[in-house]
């Protein structure tokens, strides 16, 4: 019997815990792209410096408690709200949210349906994927690109204004035309680069494939890649519509939508936990629940000569907690208005973190018309209307009902809907969404909307640290300030991703471990 066999058998009979096995490196542990925690020695129980208070039970706070726990530290997590997960928020039947403006909504989706009001997906390369594996969270593909999804831009120049197009039509035609232009330029030697005859043939071969060009004339004459008016079958080879005109495509400005899926964060493949994004937060919580205290809101974060002191409220009572280290994961809008001893440069940096608003709405429909009528199974449709995008669910295909995300907006449009009542937000989503799907009104069932700048204890969505300030101000966020530490996705170069929260937590855990190990 091998060591692994033994442990697996023992594990089955309750002899060896999952954590023992991961500690022995027999089950894979999350490996970040930054701080490496694997192989760090545990600290001695009760050793000075090993008591840590963590503010916030979002991904960053819980990940820090989880990783520090593995290393022998004693943690307490104070969480102002009554649930773990923070921005990782999945809305299901019966869930209630009262925003800071006083609007209360209760979710009336059918059983089994959900709406990820916050994170919805993660790419395969992020550490989030590792934590799903380590914590036993089942994942399934998140369909980010669907060529059958729609593009709809209105108020633009040219004949395609206000027309619904399948993404494949716009993409195949644009690529074809551009490849043709390039092929012709190569052929007339009008390019800067001097090609040998052989190189030239290689470039042309690339462009023929890239644009599906006519092999002889190098013309783009349409392509089956753009799909069919009548799809191939036994009796038909398929009938195509004529290709769209290049200038018309450029006027309609569809290219603003093309590039999104090319960005490294959005490239295939992406994943989501089965059953809702908060399944990950819940699995993490299960590991640290003994040390999390809900309804405890930090009011003051203080440095002491040897560590940290946190004043917090629990109900009507004001209490104090003294520890060797404090990890603060409060979102910047909350931290800015909390009394703290972080230095003046940290304070300036916190003040200018562009923690922006965003708004999302989950719309439940009585029928999955996007699948039934439009044959769009998952993916995203794009528009230049303020609603921006419509996400179709990547799960629950063929069920009678479905919940889609009817808008995902940033900037002024998100601030605009934030001022609306929940009922008016539905109308906002309807009026624009029905231009892509005329079935909207007839099939509408109910809705739930979240404006992140008004979510209690969060008050914003995410931030990408201004690139211009990464050399100057950003370093203040990731350096310990005495025994006070900041963690959160906004204190990483993966702002807006749970991976940023995980990586940031790992970075802080490593710093604290190093400091204590040196004692």
């Amino acid at each position: 019997m091998t060591r692994r066999d033994f442990l697996e058998k023992a594990g089955r009979y309750g002899g060896a815990s999952f954590t023992t096995m991961t500690a022995l490196g027999l089950l894979s542990r999350a490996t970040g792209r930054g701080a490496e925690l694997q192989g760090l020695p545990s600290v001695a129980a009760g050793k000075p410096g090993t008591k840590v208070v963590i503010l916030g039970a979002g991904i960053a706070g819980m990940a820090a408690a989880y990783e520090l726990g593995k290393l022998g530290f004693t943690c307490t997590v104070l969480e102002a709200s009554q649930r773990p997960g923070g921005r990782s928020l999945t809305i299901r039947k019966g869930d209630t949210l009262t925003d800071t403006l006083g609007h209360t909504q209760t979710c009336a989706f059918d059983d089994g349906h959900y709406f990820n009001a916050g994170p919805a997906r993660f790419p395969q390369w992020q550490v989030t994927m590792d934590y799903c594996r380590e914590l036993g969270v089942a994942v399934e593909p998140f369909i980010n690109v669907n060529e059958n999804g729609l593009y709809y831009n209105e108020g633009v120049a040219g004949p395609l204004a206000g027309k619904r197009l399948r993404q494949r039509e716009a993409k195949a035609d644009a690529r074809g035309h551009i490849a043709e232009l390039l092929a012709k330029a190569v052929n007339t030697d009008k390019l800067d680069q001097k090609f040998t005859a052989e190189d030239k043939e290689r470039v042309l071969e690339f462009l023929r494939r890239e644009g599906d060009l006519n092999a002889d004339t190098l013309a783009y004459e349409g392509s089956s890649r753009r799909g069919f008016k009548k799809w191939p079958s036994v009796t038909s080879t398929g009938e195509m519509d004529p290709a769209l005109d290049l200038l018309a495509l450029l006027q309609a400005n569809f290219s603003v939508h093309f590039h999104r899926n090319n960005e490294f964060e959005y490239q295939s493949a992406l994943f989501q936990p089965v059953g809702g994004m908060d399944m990950l937060a819940k699995a993490l919580f299960a590991k640290v629940k003994l040390v999390v205290r809900f309804g405890c809101a930090a009011q003051e974060i203080r440095k002491t000569p040897t560590g940290a002191r946190v004043v917090y409220t629990e109900g009507a009572e004001t209490k104090e907690l003294i520890a060797d280290h404090c990890i603060c994961t409060l979102p910047p809008p909350i931290l800015r208005t909390t009394a703290h001893d972080f230095g003046p440069m940290v304070k300036n940096t916190l003040n200018i973190i562009p923690f922006q608003n965003s708004a999302r709405i989950g719309l439940q429909f009585k029928r999955r018309f996007w699948e039934d009528d439009d044959r769009i199974f998952g993916g995203i449709s794009w528009t230049n209307q303020p609603i921006n995008e419509i996400y179709y669910p990547s799960h629950g295909f063929f069920q009678p009902k479905g919940v889609l995300i009817g808008y995902y907006m940033f900037g002024p449009p998100s601030d605009e809907v934030t001022q609306l009542t929940p009922a008016d937000r539905i109308e906002y989503a309807m009026k624009q969404g029905e231009k892509l799907h005329p079935q909207y009104r007839a099939e509408f069932d109910n809705a739930f909307s979240v404006n992140w700048s008004t979510v209690p204890h969060i008050k914003g969505c995410l931030s990408h640290f201004p690139e211009k300030l990464t050399k100057t101000l950003y370093p203040f966020l990731i350096k310990p300030d005495g025994n006070l530490h900041l963690a959160g996705d906004w204190a990483s170069h993966l702002g807006g991703w749970q991976a940023g929260a995980f990586e940031s937590a790992r970075h802080v855990v490593k710093n604290i471990h190093a400091k204590v190990a040196a004692l």
Partner: protein, 140 residues
Amino acid sequence: MRLAPHRLPPLLTLMLLMVLMVLMVLTACARADSPKPAADIDKPARRDAELIAASKNPATVKAGKATYTALCLACHGAETAKGDSPSNLFDPKWYHGGRPSEIERTVLVGFLEKNMPPWGEVPPPENPPALVAFILSQQK
């Protein structure tokens, strides 16, 4: 020559250094003939006139746009007058005062409780006026 009697404590020196570095980075794109810093912000009428004049200077507007893209675009979006929201800087409606000097004050002081940062603390002094010049240049 004797050393200056008051030497800055090392931490403060470091902080000043950092601020200087920020200034250097940010000024790089905003030098182009910006209007003078908001020294006489208490003389609104004169300041309004200066900022309006600046908004007609293409180099200043260009510098302002670059800073806008780097620091403001995420929350305030691209130049469109569509929609009514306090964070739309390109519609005709102002929620916190629409005089050029008032806009400049907003940029410098911010409203942290509403997630609008106080930029006066960070970029070099000629940046906010250039930003205001850019915003004004976009008003229809």
